[in-house]
Symmetry: C6
Subunit: 273 residues, 6 copies
């Protein structure tokens, strides 16, 4: 692991995720990040890419130490690997994002991988065992991964249906790190830093976040992301009254259900009386 | 926010939606507009695009400060981003509507986003977090959004099925503004202004709208849009008798159900005796 | 509205549909025609296109004042808007039927619109509000509708399943005219005129039609179209015995159900003893 | 109708289908043939095409007075209308079978039309009303039908599921002729003529057919086609014992169900003791 | 029928299938082979193709008297008929396997036809009635079948679901021959001949096969194929102990179910003590 | 069989799988490997390819004695066989992985074959019976397999649903070898060798593996793969505490279920107190 870098994106560790990821990276063990929406998985992987691969921000920008792909149900292996484009006189091969990462030695982060089409499986398998190769069927090339390359994927256990689960034969190829929302004290620091409001309001918003997430035990599965709390802080900074800001940035963004809205509003009344 | 502009489309605010949207725009927080059919979401976003981005109507027309896309279930990321067209001797890239908005600094309004294909997700995510980039896979370009660009989406909570819900990981990227039909006094002003009938008939049509929407508590989910009330007014202006105009422009356009038609006709009898 | 034109197709009005359509056209309000199979919707729109847009039959033929498209479940926006065709040396853009109507100022009639693919929605929306534009994604053109253009659609409330209903956000963009089969006296006139049989047989066929449609109250949803009554008349004109003609042109064309056939035959026995 | 022609395919009329079809043809009314598998619908339409359009067999072969298409669930409008083929230097348009019939004035027979894809609907509609045109979207051509052209379709009421029914708006465009298996005396004549066995065996096979079809009242929906009886006769002619021939050509071709096989074998025992 | 040919593949007839097939071929009646996996249908058709069409092995190889296609759910009419291939300067038509058989006068054997896509229906119908033509839509050619051509199809009644049944209108175009596994004495001869083990082991393997198939009455639908018994014999020949060979080649290849494995192992214990 | 080769990948045999596979290979009988995720099937086939086909590692690398394809639900026959690629002036045929193996005489290993599209069936059938040919439809070539070629497939009986089962007509073409996880003593040897930790920890990890797999009798179907145990060992080698390493590499990678996690944690407590 390279030395800590002040230019890396701000990330407050919540447990041993930094040394475990570093150890996995040193052994080039693929990593799976598990956790709910907006709890900091993307931020964490950006932070680690900086620490491990890009000693300064310029290097990060120029070398592309991290390649992120938001997966969706129409994403195919071709989208990841590349395709031929028709040019004026000939066809030109164009690497996709995964291929660029494999060739250049970046971390490739496939966010919500279970959403992607299943033909991505063949890519994942050959890149996550002793072969570390990416087969490009259309060119016949077998790209041996750069020594710095690592595949990282994420998924949210709360969402997955039976049809969209990772196959065990895929899943058992990854070291798995579990993420959750930060505790209120840490979240307040993050909110304050990101939207520039005062500490008192940041703490209240963090408390609000904690109370909303406690509703998970009462059947409201979806916790509020730190991002939405920052949105609320931003609106407050722009002189929108706190309760209006919370209504627009938190409550209405979380649900359309009348009863849940009432419950969330009661929480907001307590925290911002 | 630029100064108010008399040339902006007429919009009567119903709450704090104008300052909240302006604050969100100033922080470049993406916005979600929630509300039923024809309650003025599209009009509102046109109004705000004028106020915030186009100081006069000519600028609006020339700069394209607002790019609107009506989503549907066959709409793909390619439709939004652009495609290669085969030309006489070569292929030519053509930006799609979203790309044009990203490059030129317009507000891009994706109406009824949940109807679109899921490959639009990857575009939404990278444009609504700190990256603010639009990846164009086919050209390999990463378009950094113009500083004036903002993504705005809408959806109608009344329609959504489980299959067509916004994923929380998408939804929690937006400040949410709730819209509903205007109160009768305001709606009467709108009707009068749009179709030129006299104030008495405009008020009666607005009252009709209110009474029809109250049927929502009795199981008729679909409220009548202001547009249909304006249609009825237009027919009345063209000398069609009021009851016939209401029958054609409101009742028959709302439902095929015999009992509901009878209920709506009773309301019309009361309002236009 | 232009003056009445003797060359317009024969159409017997059943209510106020002619002045209401004319008023809607004058305000360029889009129109929805609702009604069962073969009750005259297509004939009505042909008649109105003549009256409003084509003062004589030659103009009708040459200007194409009416463009009709029978929708089906494979019909896409591309089919309506147009496509590039590969030519010897280049590609050539070819307008589809909707684009031709938009450019030339015709009435475009989309028959049974709910059968079409959903990507037609985006076309309908932008052509039926204040924008009146047709976006052609493939060429990047925004075609401003000719001032004479109007969009008219039809659907049959009796057929629609939940899956094939018009979305309220679409439906609430149209003035709706309801059609039903003509009363017997008028239908007899139509039959006599169309197939040239004598008045007595035409009246009997019209009576037969009325009695068959009354079965709707007894669970036989599908009324007989005027067209089938004309077919029966044509066969009678060609010397096929009346009962055989009714069996082939009406009963067997309406149903495969044995009990319903028996009921229909009993009606035929009464009308043609 | 042209004079009867000795070279027309052998067809024994069972009712008034010949004069009714001829009258419908004379008025150019489209015709629907309804009936079970192998009862002679295809033979009938071949016979009528000869009688009405092709005075001698040479004319039939050279003019292609009848164009038959067996529909299936992958058959599209493009398959019927035609397509562009890529040639050495350019693309060449090639008419499909329906277009050839429309241009040349043939009868086009779409066998089991409900199996075809729904985009064929638009073709059927415009060819079966007063327009009699075939729109070719890809070339922009509107082909006015030759005056001799007629559209004939068939379907088997016994097979149709709700999903594969003819829409009433399509069905009510046809005169409908009902077919069923011939009575035993006539079927024996056909069998004898087609496979050359003696009259006694032909009569026994016809009796067998009648008895098998009577099982329809006992839950065996599928009647045996005349074709299979002819197959059995052909095997008998080639010295296969009658019971073995019936087993192979009738029983095993009709069912895989053990109980039904036993019932059919009992019938065979009675007829061929 | 040509004289018996010593070079034809070894086939032990189990009933009258050889003369019946020969009689059907002489009348060019299409044939359907029904029976379970691995009971010899493919071998039979190879044998008959030799006897009827290829007097010696060289002729078989050179003329391609038999064309076999294993059908699957992605097999389309295009796969059978042929397609245009893009060449350097032009497109070249390439006959598919069915077209080659039709032109050259081979037997075309479509194995497990119900697995294929439904657009193959149109080919089957026109090749199995008096027309005996293969329409090639893409070239506009109607290929008249060579006089030696015959279409033969197979299916396994045990597998078919309602969705994958042969339509009666297709099925009633074939003479049907039923196949089943050979009796033990005959199967022992086949095993001995194919893998070269001694007669005692061959007889034991045939006995094993018989006992396994008797489990069909106890709910184990899938009988063991002769091929697997030959595999077991081959392993025994290569010095694998008999019980291990049976375990690998028979039991584990038949099932993953623990109870059925136990039942099969008990049978093996009895036969190979 | 060639002599044992020290350069072959490390493989500890658990039964008679090596001599049985060698005997099957000598008779060119196709082989099916059955067993759970990560129990060593892939390693075994790599080992056998070395032993049977590649006397030294260089030969393995240069001749490509083994061609592995991870199947998935979008994998088609075209992906296996090859395709035409558009070049500057012409099209160039490119063999797929299966074709390369067939031509060059390699073992082709189709991992999790049931995941692939069904058009692969036709390839499997003709390569696994006496024909040993690979039909390439697009070129018209019938590639006779190299004498060293063998087809090997795998599947995991625990995963298969009814929809994704091997058809018996396919399955009964293979000798089947059953695999399971190694016993603890052997697994400890493998772990120690692969990640370099001390024997005591390797033994504890192997014991952990055994205890986790015993949960299969208590409803936890998915056993832990040897790979995950090696991952845990690797993290321990990188100074991550054992319990943390097991949590990340084993427990979190196996399940998201809270109760199962608790059960697995209890096991870890016992083994690594």
């Amino acid at each position: 692991m390279k030395d800590t870098d002040d230019s890396a994106p701000f990330y407050l560790p919540l447990g041993d995720e930094i040394p475990v990821f570093a150890a996995a990276y040193d052994s080039r063990l693929p990593v799976l990040l598990k956790g709910p929406t907006g709890c900091g998985k993307t931020r964490f992987i950006e932070h680690m890419a900086h620490r491990l691969l890009a000693p300064d921000a310029n290097a990060m920008a120029s070398t592309g130490a991290l390649v992120t792909v938001s997966c969706h149900e129409d994403l195919t292996a071709t989208d990841l690997v590349g395709r031929y484009l028709l040019d004026r006189d000939s066809t030109v091969w164009q690497d996709g994002p995964l291929t660029r990462a494999v060739r250049n030695g970046a971390i490739c982060y496939l966010d919500e991988i279970v959403e992607a089409r299943k033909d991505t499986t063949v890519l994942i398998h050959s890149l996550t065992d002793h072969r570390r190769v990416l087969p490009i069927d259309k060119t016949g090339e077998m790209v041996q991964a750069h020594e710095d390359f690592l595949l990282v994927i994420s998924y949210n256990p709360g969402y997955q249906s039976v049809l969209k689960d990772l196959k065990p034969s895929t899943r058992q190829r990854f070291v798995s790190l579990v993420f959750d929302y930060p505790p209120p004290e840490q979240e307040a620091v993050i909110i304050e830093k990101e939207c520039g409001i005062d500490a008192a309001n940041a703490e209240r918003l963090a408390l609000l976040g904690q109370k909303v997430r406690n509703l998970r035990d009462h059947g409201f599965e979806e916790g509020v992301s730190t991002r939405l709390l920052i949105y609320a802080g931003s609106l407050i900074q722009r002189s929108i009254p706190a309760r209006a800001a919370i209504d627009k940035a938190v409550i209405q963004s979380l649900t359309d259900d009348g009863e849940i809205k009432t419950a969330l509003a009661s929480i907001a009344d307590v925290v911002f009386p």
